[in-house]
Amino acid sequence: MTAAALHDEYPPQAASYLRDGHSLWSWLASTDHKRIAILYAISITMFFFVGAVAIAIVRVELVNPNGQFLSDDTYNKLFTLHGIVMVWFFLIPSIPNTFGNFLLPLMIGAPDVAFPRLNLFSWYLNIAGGLFTLYAVVAGGVDTGWTFYTPFSTMFSNSHVLAAAAGVFVAGFGSIATGVNFIVTIHMLRTRGMAWFRLPLFVWSLYATSLVLVLATPVLAVTLLLVIAERWFGFPIFDPTHGGDPLLFQHLFWFYSHPAVYIMILPAMGVVTEVITCFARRRVFGYTFMVYAMVAIAGIGFFVWGHHMFVSGQSPYASLIFSFLSFVVAVPSAIKVFNWTATLYRGQITFEAPMLYALGFIGLFTIGGLTGLFLASIPIDVQVHDTYFVVAHFHYIMVGGSVSAFFAALHFWWPKITGKLYDEAWARFAAILMFFGFNFTFFPQFLLGYLGNPRRYHVYPPEFQVYHVMSSTGASVLAAAYLLPPIYLIWSLLYGKSSGDNPWGATGLEWTTRSPPPKHNFLAPPTIETGPYEYHEKGEAPEAGPRVPHRAQSEPR
């Protein structure tokens, strides 16, 4: 059955969203959540490359203990650029604004999000913020680190702090808009029968993420505004010579930036559940606990920010409270890891590319999370704070975790978004290469940090060189692994086989409509009668043998 014939079979109102207008304007002015998702996908990919090139230069530079071709100043600007771009213009929008935007209405049976024009506006806010930031780079860069600590950023830095802070400020409002949109969508646009506890866990993860987006991002905005006010107008706020406290900046900054990491990981956790249930042909273990765990992570995540400030001059009593709460917040994450493992048990597991990424997530997120507990312990943190140990910890979670999940999502939903299949062999190879490249890059950094190599330093003692060389070599393998998906995915767009509506036999509501979906998602609003992940009867594990045909969530029993 050729692609053309498949398309001809469907009535006109089922015409793919990709065919609804071919001009550039039809894309740039589209309020269709699926097109907006693709706009975001393109922009985050471009930002990813900017951030990746910046750190590639840094990793090359670090092969030599005394540096090679960069000045100290340029070095500082490069790691700052990497941090700012990767955090705010890649990771924060990545899964929520691409897969979240595309899939949320599909997963709840809605024709679009609650406020489609606001959705488009949020992309433009993101782009405007990105342009401010790129201006800061082109004009000479920022050297404060992505954390903009005062009083350096407000009083002493000679770099383009204002433009970068303004860029992040503007992009932040795009995040808030997304959060508002998703919360209202999930509350009010669920189709008939789609009760809260029948929602797929990816939707729950977007809900928890949106709560964080709405409550945390404004505090970042006001913090950066105060930095701008102090730097631009000379209004002393964090200035110790006027009686101000620079640590106040850190309190406000981390009040946002710690929950921000949950913005980056919660959607990833949602993706992992979707992929694992599908490729193990299993219902998720402990659905209710998974829901409460995500909401708990989002909530408790707001109360732990002081663990970034154990050595900044924060009082030991406050540090104690924050340390305790940081241990508490690990519990729901651990519950999720146990539940994913239990979901795999007695499953009919196959190792397609999305599954490889999801399994990689579980391992790497666990390592990242456990090292987080090390850091939550004050005595250990005193030793390893501001060293490569911290760098390795958060990269295990953000890259080993979130980016792996992003690629899992990309491969899992690629057929739904494009209607095409990609080359499975190359995809598996890239996944495995990425796993090895990632570990080669970042595991040595745990050792470096523990042995005392500080972060953000341009030069280092020669006895650490072997670890840096390992890390930089790993980084080149990782870079190669990142370059593979764009190649075979573009090939798939041009020459790939048609995927059909549900190539994986998954149960989500999004798989019951065409691939690619029609403009209004469903020909008729679906009615839901069952819960998610009904890969087998409750209480029975799928036995080894031929795959039992699935029943998607909206199909009648």
Partner: protein, 208 residues
């Protein structure tokens, strides 16, 4: 006429209005957190420099501040009447009250303008040549200028939104049943609530 207000993906205007109200409340939650960051800075700085804050707080013009508070509260009153009038389909009352809201908002900004001018003349702009040497004094006024400035920007946005409503409802381009009326009203009331909290912090300290 209702069809003009209904938008994708909504199929019923009542649901769309509920969504707009809910969405605006969620946004207002983020706005509350935004301003509370500034208020936290105020509270922390006051905690660190209590004597300085007390001395310098009486330099703000309590008459401008109080009159502005009354003006803004009255504008909230006008806006509340406008929203209810819209629900009751009392067109002229709604439009008149929306226009009154705009007028009162502009009055606030005008008075604020005079106040800022006076503040500058009294050398209350932080920086070299600041009028008061007490420690923490410039901190207080930095916070004063930033919070009132950001509030004024929010108020200006509100004036534009309400002004637009006056025009499009008067020209019958938007029905009164549109979700925009209540959503805009909520935003306006929030700008008022913020001011109500800023007023004692910035104007009533150190007066006794």
């Amino acid at each position: 006429m209702s069809a003009a207000a209904l938008r994708e993906p909504w199929t019923r205007l009542s649901r769309q209005r509920e969504a707009a109200t809910f969405g605006m409340w969620v946004f207002l939650t983020s706005e509350l957190l935004f301003f509370s960051g500034m208020i936290l800075i105020y509270a922390a700085c006051r905690y660190l420099q209590p004597a300085g804050f007390l001395v310098v707080a009486r330099e703000t013009n309590v008459w401008f501040g109080t009159i502005n508070t009354i003006v803004l509260l009255t504008s909230s009153f006008a806006m509340a009447v406008a929203a209810q009038a819209g629900d009751a389909k009392l067109r002229r009352l709604a439009i008149a009250c929306l226009a009154a809201t705009v007028a009162l908002g502009l009055a606030f900004l005008t008075i604020k303008g005079f106040e800022y001018r006076e503040d500058i003349q009294k050398h209350l702009l932080p920086g070299a040549g600041f009028a008061i040497a007490a420690p923490g004094a410039q901190l207080f006024f930095s916070i004063y200028w930033v919070t009132t400035g950001v509030h004024a920007i929010h108020l200006s946005v509100g004036i534009v939104l309400v002004g637009r409503l006056v025009l499009v409802t008067a020209r019958r381009e938007l029905p009164l049943s549109s979700p925009e009326l209540h959503a805009t009203a909520l935003y306006w009331h929030l700008v008022d609530v913020i001011w109500v909290i800023l007023y004692p912090l910035l104007y009533l300290g150190g007066r006794s």
